[in-house]
Symmetry: D2
Subunit: 342 residues, 4 copies
């Protein structure tokens, strides 16, 4: 019954990628190419990440029609880490509206060489993709969205939201990662105290439970399959292609994609926007969630990271994809004749 | 004969904006709304700009099919100023290729609060939309593209390029502006000497003639009509919709649009990317050239500028357009139901 | 018996300021002039400071011979605040040596416009006069100097040190200020967590008790009389002029004076060094401790502060003093004939 | 007749360094120690400096009584380079007064990590020891001090001033260095244009001739003997110890020493102030001029430079001197018993 959208379309033969089989052949070829790349280092700041198998390599696709395709390690669970920042932002945005959320958080890149400057010139975090911004987003979810909920209920409520974005697919929770993160949280405590001193938080914020929520979201566990459906929901304006449910406001999705485009890949964001031209968000577990608006969602997973903290194979895969298909944000649909329209 | 593309399409009724008349009605309404806005100040650093009539207000559209529509002061000539930076970049890119041009110039925003830092950490100008980058682009055009040409011939050659981008429409030259700019060039001389000291220029660069060429391009004179056709050529992957000529490499256009998206509106670029989500480039004469990829090119012209140096009415017009139509780069085509697809 | 140094010198008529009475007349005149200055605002971030009487105005002198002179509110107790940073630094330096302490903390100004940058390029606090540096100094006193002491004993030990610097004069403790500071400590918690994340602290640091010690030192209570003796001990190479005891290593005093000279007056340090040319340290309670090396120690106290956080009357007094007497570090002793050598 | 000051004092046996012979023995020992140091690289940006013999090593002293002592290569001519910045500043200060000169130029360190920021937040050069500040000082000398003088006469006038500071000793001019500097002046042209754009210069400034004057001062040629007398004039409040002439206002000398103290050794200034604690100024020719106020002037010369651009042996010599004698700005005169008072 989940796939009712897909089936009804199949009958009508109206898929966004008409030649899906040919498309997947090219994906497989690219996947194999990237699997030879042994560069990068697995994140090591907590043991749970350090012990990840560096050979894991999986890619999943989900189109806005609900067509899906996976290859490699598509059912190995990994924690979302920073990829969760997109979800908490888009949920808070959907619940509170653009104006309200952006009275607390900016929407621009922080400038790659000045990462010491925690707040922008308005004394707000630069954007919701950096730690300061995501911690503040957690506080907004806790104190401005249904503030009467107990903390445990709020956690449940967010987990359910994540699940709806994934069309009902399971979302796990890695408690060992959560506990490790909390123990290694000096930097994030520094950010939180600094923001508190600058009156960044909404009234009533309990900093400890706000950081707890932040780390809980980072410790949500998914597979590439699940994550590709979430990405497809974003590609589809907030309507999950599996369930057909409008989970998010389309305006919220638009703003989330804009911010992923300019700020989603750490200090590599500017170059990624130029070369790949797709909204994406990476996490130190080795995940990259990438969105081709109106078309499909992609999730890559491979633990070894480059110096920016992005999955080496994930970045390579996204580049190869855009070199072959006309997915770049500013690819011309008619006159870029050497590229393939899937 | 120029309109052969348009006519052939008209017969086939395959326009990108099927209901063009309804579309233009909405444009007119927005135009009138903006004309009431009396904010902003005309640029005053040279007399030729200071004496511009602040009431001038014109908008022109050109679709990738070659359909055109203008309203207001659409035939008042104005100088391109910084809008020419896009053209010199895309021409140099088309002639030299991405790799070669970006071995001299970066492709990322410079960070809004640190405009004193002339060069990025690789000792290159941050991007071709800032003065340092555009001066360097002029030097590349002079010394790497057909270096045997005399300076006067190179100027002719570039003018002809501009004209081809405009489908043969006339491109003027305002010599009074050029001479004023040269006289008020201290800042740009400082940038050029600083870059020379950092070995930014290709060998053989004559700094005086390079700055001359830079200011000459800024002093090119156009109308909103002409400029909208140039914008449409960019919307159309480098193929001029009026003449049907492939003037630029589609890859070059893609990179130009990426850079316009992140760096085209001075220090307002980040907010413009978030709110409007369209590649655009402004100039202190009051021009804004805006591109809806695969759809149309827009040119607004109104001399009063906001504190960032962007035309007040121009920015307002672009925002209103995106509020009504699904032109924002990350508007969802299906599920943003309150928006109109023209 | 405390004054044995003084008395023995008096017999020999060998005072550093031979005409002490004439000198004090000029001081009185300057004191009255400054008392008319009603500018500045009392610090308001904690109630105990906010409620200070803005009319308090006292100045005390103590020469290296132990001659003393006070005028105005010389026995109103106030908290040392940042002036304590000099004492903890010079004690830690005296106990640990220059090399050891400066392997943890730098010794240069942080640059006035970049106060967001908590650590210098070696990932250390810039100097012991900024909060980060003083928090770290507290940790060195706790963990490297007699680490076996219990926290309460270490506090006693430091208090006794302060008292010895003051020649046995009483040192109080304002517990209300301490408790207020602890409650308003977000900024300092942020700094401490940030330093912890950067491995700035010596092993075994308990951050809570280290911040406690930092705030305890800030909450030590003195009068201008007491503080002028401490300043005189610094003027006298670490030998208290009242008791004759060598309390500090002379090398430690030298380094403390160097750092007070370049970093002691918050963001006004550079201008103060240029105009007044004397090592000084201010605190938000309105205290300024100023040292004329080899000559005398001065303490001014007046709660209203300028925009830099320095006592308005205190700064005015120091400037007037240097305009009249040849106390500026680079005053020429022979050829600055319009100045008085007291 | 020049030595009349010296002779009259000799009769009265009132020298500032009573045991001059013992003092010079220690100097010789230190000199030999430093001569073993082969570190550093000779400046290479112009051929005239690059060809300097790296083995040159000379030191000269001159006390405020006019006693002199030299060792090593004390009569090899070298260009003043940045050491001339002190002289042009102190002359301009003496002629124009503190208020007037500092309405154009600041007086604080620029902050070592932010050397790209040419101007401070008041849009002035940070201080007269950096290139921007020294170029501006040249302009003040040209346009505010006797502006009616022709450029050649102004050059003569300044040369004579330098000569008076040196008690009549000869000052040469190295025209080859001057011409090389002018040819390699891109950076300084950038600074000058940038300042022009920011309206830093006084009215009537001709930038070319101002840069000429700046480079001419840098190309003045001296020996360590000559330079040590100039340093002694600064140590003596502006009165030349050789001629007895009051060449400079004592207030001007005070301000020059303050600025040398905080800004005289390029990016090493902060550490030098802490460790050596004496006002000094270095130049890329390998010169260091160092002042012990009220006592003596020192000039070291050795071409190999460290990474900051300061003479390796010169810095080593200054440190050794302060380790042995109580010359550090904040050495205690009584209680630093392990140090020698010469």
């Amino acid at each position: 019954s989940d796939n009712i959208v897909l089936i009804s379309k199949a009958f009508r033969q109206q898929f966004v990628i008409p030649e899906f089989v040919q498309f997947t052949c090219k994906i497989e070829e690219t996947f194999r190419l990237c699997s030879e790349n042994k560069d990068g280092k697995v994140a090591s700041y907590i043991p749970q990440l350090a012990h990840m198998n560096p050979n894991y390599w999986g890619v999943s696709f989900c189109t806005v029609d609900g067509q899906r395709f996976s290859i490699g390690d598509d059912n190995i669970p990994f924690t979302m880490q920073s990829a969760s920042k997109v979800l908490t932002y888009v949920i808070a945005h959907s619940e509170l509206g653009a104006e309200r959320i952006h009275s607390y958080i900016g929407q621009e890149p922080s400038g790659r060489m000045f990462n010491e400057l925690v707040l922008n010139h308005n004394r707000k975090p630069h954007n919701p993709m950096i730690n300061a911004g995501a911690i503040l987003t957690a506080s907004l979810l806790q104190n401005l969205v249904r503030p009467e909920m107990r903390h445990c209920d709020k956690f449940q409520w967010i987990t359910r939201y994540f699940k709806r974005l994934a069309g009902g697919m399971p979302i796990g929770f890695n408690n060992a990662v959560f506990m490790s993160e909390i123990e290694d949280a000096d930097r994030n405590f520094a950010l939180a105290y600094y923001m508190k001193d600058n009156h960044c938080f909404p009234e009533g914020t309990n900093m400890e439970s706000c950081l707890d929520l932040y780390f809980q979201c980072c410790s949500m566990e998914v597979t590439t399959e699940t994550m590709s459906v979430i990405a497809a929901t974003l590609a589809n304006g907030g309507v999950c292609p599996i369930s057909g449910e409008q989970v998010l406001q389309s305006e919220s999705v638009r703003d989330a994609l804009s911010i992923m485009h300019s700020c989603g890949m750490y200090d590599y964001s500017g170059q990624f926007a130029f070369q790949v031209g797709l909204p994406a968000k990476s996490g130190v577990s080795g995940v990259i969630m990438c969105v081709v608006p109106n078309t499909l969602g992609i999730c890559c997973f491979s633990p070894p990271l480059d110096k920016y903290g992005n999955s080496v194979r994930g970045v390579q895969f996204c580049k190869a994809l855009v070199d072959y298909f006309n997915f770049h944000r500013y690819d011309n649909l008619k006159h870029a004749e050497d590229k393939t329209d899937p």
